[in-house]
Symmetry: C2
Subunit: 333 residues, 2 copies
DNA sequence: CTGAAAGCGCTTACAG
DNA sequence: CTGAAAGCGCTTACAG
């Protein structure tokens, strides 16, 4: 059942059917009504692929997501999806695993006309992918990642400040031996480390590399990281895990070691995923405006797909420290 | 840059290019090589939409997911995606919200030729959708839901048995006042309730409807449900929350009421999501083979999309009780 | 306001 | 083994 059959039954041309379907051009009321009633009667729906073909538009955007921090990325995914759906787009997830030839995922999306736009949340280590992205004609926005060399729109928080603010919070509670856990492989890590160092410096505390650990953005790696931290240095009184999912593992690891939170050790997370208030103790965290990051990324992509010229200077969204019950003050009043 | 230009540069016909691209028909080695080298040189990739158009195939499957039990559904999504990806399919998520006119989501998928197959994880209350599904020519499989009246493939656990086994476990630990929390709106709820009742009956314990609560598959609703349960009956010594995500809320709610798990109250979940070992206490749960449910659903759909005749009798996968530290025996030895 | 015709970029009988 | 041609189901100048 195609547009032709509808046209025949309504005794008009396919062009007319197309016009009433899309409202692209005026059609006389009588023809319009005739066509509409046939369409309704037959339960006809235009073939989406054929439309895509001639319009050269997929109504689809590709979302490149790493396979880390699942809870964080799920929230972003939802908000991107919601925003894009309102505009009539569907999103297809391209999950990149840490396989050596992960560039295939990008290639698929960049070269095969599969998507009208791309949102990238994964930082690749392969420079050839970056030049590919620069050369493609499909709009790309970087969501929650930071690749300064790419002159394309990006939406994220200020990682340096998020690290600095969180560390300062712990310092102001009187902590002096603050372990941090960073995530591996993302450029945010460097900035976060710098934020931590600068916060220490302002409080005249020497940086000690023993207090820095790296994890893989999973609960399990968080648990292992905190164990390593304490095996090297047991003067630690606070942990700033710069990824909530790892912080869940930190709580677990500390429990395994027989340490109480916040009595023995204070724990601070970063991200602001949904489960934090339900943890034990409820986890304090430097919260990203996660849904807003997704929403803004989607909106910018939408503008680009509509051919608008967009500003490529980074959109930096505000984080905010949310206190719950996992951090304790060491100061006596 | 299309197949025509490639053909011209290689001095062959578009048909030949298509044949080397798809390997559908033998091509002489010399032509093949000539074409291949041009393709490589030009970085050509076939236009996916044009292929879809003539092949009448999208290489896409639609996944209808409810907006509940996010952690559970994420795992299924991942395993479905992985299985389908190996076969060259992409998946598009259709998230159905509880809006009154949620049938639009189904319509989109069922009528607009958007997907070659559909996996449904959402139970709708609208009978017209079921008849729509019955009439469609696109393959559909029901994943982790149970609609007996639909004569199409389904993959799930035995909800009755899962409820029965979990309840029996608590009974055998000596619990006599066992509260349960069911999820709203899914037919599994009835079977689970029956499993609970039958387990009680075998232990000659009278059913007490005061001990049954219903939640919305969220942490928050679990927390509220357990509060209601205790406000009605404080002899309860165990809670069987038949959804892990709600069980997380149960732990939280009990903590709020000043009750310890498992000292004061034992808590048992159902699903087997990733976070259970990291909770405090680590949550015992009747575990579904979640990735396997997704995998099998995808495999059956794949077979159907290949035109194979498949068995429509339900595939029932085994659950298993995983003991952690949230349940305590009341028996003294 | 309406229709005949070309065309989107592929694949595949069909003929050779 | 190879190519010319038709066709997938739409949209949109173009002409009237």
């Amino acid at each position: 059942m195609g547009i032709k059959e509808i046209a025949k039954k309504a005794e008009v041309s396919p062009a007319t059917v197309s016009r009433v379907l899309n409202g692209t051009k005026a059609v006389s009321p009588e023809l319009k009504e005739r066509v509409l009633s046939i369409i309704k009667y037959e339960g006809y729906e235009a073939n989406h692929i054929a439309r895509s073909m001639v319009l050269k538009k997929n109504f689809t955007v590709g979302l490149i997501i790493p396979n880390i921090s699942e809870m964080y990325h799920r929230i972003i995914f939802s908000s991107i999806e919601e925003t894009l759906e309102e505009a009539g787009y569907k999103v297809i997830v391209y999950r990149v695993k840490d396989e050596p030839n992960h560039e295939q995922v990008y290639w698929d999306l960049l070269m095969k006309n599969r998507a009208d736009g791309i949102i990238i949340m994964h930082e690749t280590s392969k420079p050839e992918i970056y030049s590919q992205i620069k050369n493609t004609s499909v709009p790309v926005v970087l969501c929650s990642i930071n690749i300064p060399s790419m002159d394309i729109p990006k939406v994220r928080i200020d990682d340096y400040r998020a690290a600095l603010d969180g560390t300062r919070y712990l310092l102001e509670l009187g902590h002096r031996h603050i372990g941090i856990i960073l995530g591996r492989g993302y450029s945010a890590g460097d900035q976060r480390l710098q934020g931590y160092r600068d916060a220490l410096e302002k409080h005249s505390i020497a940086f000690n590399s023993e207090l820095v650990e790296v994890g893989e953005y999973t609960m399990e790696s968080g648990s292992r990281a905190v164990t390593r931290l304490f095996s090297r240095n047991n003067a630690i009184t606070a942990i700033y895990s710069m990824c909530d999912e790892m912080a869940i593992g930190v709580l677990h690891g500390l429990r395994q070691m027989g340490l109480s939170v916040p009595e023995d050790v204070s724990v601070l997370g970063l991200d602001g995923i949904d489960i934090l208030p339900y943890l034990c103790p409820p986890l304090s965290s430097v919260q990203q405006p996660i849904p807003e990051i997704g929403r803004q990324s989607a909106k910018i992509l939408l503008a680009m797909m509509n051919g608008e010229q967009v500003d490529t200077s980074p959109v930096v969204l505000e984080h905010k420290l949310v206190e719950r019950q996992s951090c304790r003050s060491l100061l006596t009043h």
